[in-house]
Amino acid sequence: MPCVTDTASLPAGAGENLTHNVQPLLHEIRHALAKLLEDGDGTVIDLRSLPLAPGEEQKLLDELDQGEVTAQIQALGPTEIIETRYPGVWVVVHFNNDNEVVGKFIEVCHIPALLCSQQEDIREGLERLSHHLLEATT
């Protein structure tokens, strides 16, 4: 699976064609982080809805860098979740089964919702475990 912080694929000359959207995005993240701290409200930024020049997304990811947590989910293809060097700021990248990116988000929250076990899955897991134990005792 491609790594979201891989800089080896940067095209030569990248950085010349800038929209200058990286700095405003970092400010948006700063505001979102302050809001999270003050009233607990999270923010999600869809990176694919923004006009970014070649190399700018990588520049943003380089600025955010990698923090303490890296997680992978396998559900309808892999999902890579990385806490950046700013706690509370996460990079979430969804891939499909062919390892193509189908969604790329910056989530400003205590923990991305997708990492939490979901009620429906817990319920189903409980049923499976109960069934397994029942089978084992009979």
Binding site: N17, R48, E120
Partner: protein, 363 residues
Amino acid sequence: MSKDETLGEALRQQGISRRGFLKFCAATASMMALPPSMVPAIAAALEKARRPSVIWLSFQECTGCTESLTRSHSPTVEGLIFDVISLDYHHTLQAASGTAAEAARETAIEENYGKYLLIVDGSIPTANPGYSTIAGVSNVDMLKEVAKGAAAIVAVGSCAAFGGIPHAHPNPTGAVSVSDLVKDKPIINVPGCPPIPVVISGVLLHYLTFGAIPELDSLSRPKAYYGQSIHDRCYRRPFYDKGLFAEGFDDEGAKKGWCLYKLGCKGPTTYNACATTKWNAGTSFPIESGHPCLGCSEPDFWDGGGFYKALSMPTEDISRTAVYAIGAGAAAGVALGALNRAKKAKATKAHEKVTINDLEKGN
């Protein structure tokens, strides 16, 4: 998945976890150009959604639109076809052929009358019905027959939406768009040559999620994707604002990635999502690859005066105009836009053909 089963039920039966479903919804929101805050609402709606019957009619077309959809990088393309919608008729994709295929279309109409979604790609010839027929039925007759029982129609591609290339001068087949023939049904135009695959999927998913057609612009295009010009969302826009333009495909300006306006870019008069959604798994879009936008999602783009001709060039020197635009702000931009539109309309009226000189950036 049966038609009575909800999508949520079907996905759980297939062993897809709630987590997987939420991921699907997050990608769907992104695809529908909706804010991520809408994900819970999308999840709630999709969970209860029942898959609609879809009939896809292909008329005078090159199959590029179907190619585009089936090469969609979204996680939903197989899901879209096999789970999310019931694609009851598509003569390119379906296994059945001949009488069996046509019987499938008739059955779908009968069983879902008033509720099915009709997707059309390709323009419809009116000069002579024999120019394009399916199973001996003319395109006009088949469109009218299937449209009667449709809940809504999606015209996929510039041919179905505006007549497209078959409609270009001198239009030998008398090609027209779906909206030229059908006046009593809601029509969503999804133009592009071809349209961006995730835009096609996104429009279908919007209908499925909300049970209604999305908000449309004056050309019946979904505003979520066609609400802003390529120019306004282009990463090269800052160079336009500074008056920095490539004058040739291999000059210093081109190498520095400057604005392609002088090379015939139709970005300022073209409304589409290419600059943000991009193509090929989000890799790039034509301008990012160094090529001017052709304006393929606009009516009559083929007769717009030449792809490489700076048709929209104002009579004033563009660098000077751009400097004034920076000084005068939006007013100058609006005036320039009006001038561009007037020139485009004039060229369209004159049905100017693309010549070899145009391809070589002749003046």
